[in-house]
Amino acid sequence: MIEPALVARARRRDPGAFDALHARCARMVHAIGLAHGVDADDLVQDVFLAAWQRIGDLKDDASFGPWLGAIARNRARDVLRRPRLVEPLPEVGAQPPPALEAREALQHLRALPEAYRETLTMRLVEGLTGPEIASLTGLTPDSVRVNLHRGMALLRASLKGEP
């Protein structure tokens, strides 16, 4: 759980507090973006700026993580609903695209049922542990453990080409 005292400082729009919240929660938001197939780096920037603007709407400091996650999912869905006329071009000077193997692995991850997709992305891509995922998302540790193991079983089968 994010420390309520940190969230209380963030309510006063303390940039240092928001930097700390970013350090704790950015990987969760990034994983949600990856799981939904949107530009995850853009989503992280967008969601944290939204949190900066709307921190006054947060009713319970202890729910900052789940609240942020809900904003991220809604933003990701909004992005997916927009008509896309052209594929986004890579920025000049941007890092080279991930190798084919990395893209394929992510595609298999995105093909999982939604209940497992985000949790497994947080673990396998972002390196968050089960207890960290539970703390950020508000899910119980048992739910996280189940999601990770069931999702991993499906992912392994998918990578092997099994139905």
């Binding site: 928001f18 920037q45 609240w67 542990t129 392994r156």
Partner: protein, 298 residues
């Protein structure tokens, strides 16, 4: 106990799993935080807040001159009418077709009374203020603690929870409340609905309050919801027409069969909730569900 690398962290033992982690590693987040704005960006609700604050400042400046301990001051702001009058407890204010009146709600807010409105001051004092709106329309701006201001209508009460709202009562006593900021509760016979900013609620003759919906809800969904409320349409039509934002309305129906499942289908990110507790109307479970869903309505 064997190490559960998947849950506890650390490296997997199987080479296939290690290869997967290596393949996914380039996708990991590594960016810096954004540049935090010096001041919040202007959004429409900030503009509303500023206009409300400005109105409140005007109200506070005027209140001292017009409100007496035994009544509320009011004056015509459109059309002919009184320039400086007092509405005593028990008195009824009727505006004609051309006159709009601004009524000072004791020391807690403003009420703009539209033409063709009939309103009675029922009580005022000790932090509790009540008017009876028989017909017509009022636009309220209240800066009091929750439940300090109540509007009684023929078929239910609109309870201010700290907000701005527009309330209209038609010729048969049906009320419709559109909330601009904050939240109101619409209550009758022990049943209460919760109407947040941007949403619409109301009362119905000889029936519980209408199920709240967004003011810009899809007309098909709104029609199905109206039919359900009237007992003239199936719940299945409401569920079929609902989109993720309509979980505001579905929350109010969460004790009905099939509704919780539809909520989860529309908002799969909703936190695990005790479905049985929601179905039996447990207050704590419903409150948790509200808080989770409310974060997705923004």
């Amino acid at each position: 106990m064997s190490h559960d690398w998947l849950f506890d962290g650390g490296d997997p033992e199987e080479e296939g799993d290690r290869a997967l982690l290596r393949a996914l590693a380039p996708h990991r987040h590594s960016g810096p935080p954004p540049a935090w704005p010096v001041a919040p960006r202007g959004r429409w609700f900030a503009a509303v807040g500023l206009s409300l604050a400005a109105a409140a400042a005007v109200f506070l400046a005027v209140r001292v001159a017009t409100t007496t301990p035994s009544g509320w001051g009011y004056r015509a702001i459109e059309g002919p009418g009184c320039a400086a009058c007092v509405l005593a407890v028990g008195d009824t204010l009727r505006t004609d077709a051309a006159t709009r009146v601004r009524l000072d709600v004791a020391d807690v807010g403003l009420l703009d009374v539209a033409p063709g409105t009939t309103l009675t001051l029922a009580a005022s004092g000790d932090g509790a203020h009540r008017v009876v709106l028989e017909r017509g329309r009022v636009d309220a701006l209240i800066v009091a603690p929750a439940r300090a201001f109540v509007v009684s209508t023929p078929h239910g009460e609109v309870v201010d929870l700290g907000c701005a709202f527009a309330l209209a009562v038609d010729d048969v006593g049906r009320a419709q409340v559109d909330v601009g900021a904050g939240t109101v509760a619409v209550e009758r016979g022990g049943r209460a609905t919760r109407v947040p900013a941007g949403a619409r609620g109301g009362t119905r003759p000889d029936a519980p309050p209408a199920t709240p919906r967004w003011q810009d809800a899809d007309p098909g969904f709104a029609a199905a919801l109206d039919a359900w409320d009237a007992g003239a349409g199936p719940l299945s039509a409401v569920l079929a027409a609902a989109t993720p934002r309509d979980t505001l309305s579905l929350w109010h129906l969460a004790t009905e069969p099939g509704v919780f499942e539809r909520i989860v289908a529309l908002e799969p990110g909703v936190l695990p909730t005790d479905e049985a507790a929601v179905r039996r109307g447990d207050d704590a479970a419903l409150e948790l569900l509200w808080r989770d869903l409310a974060a997705s309505w923004r």
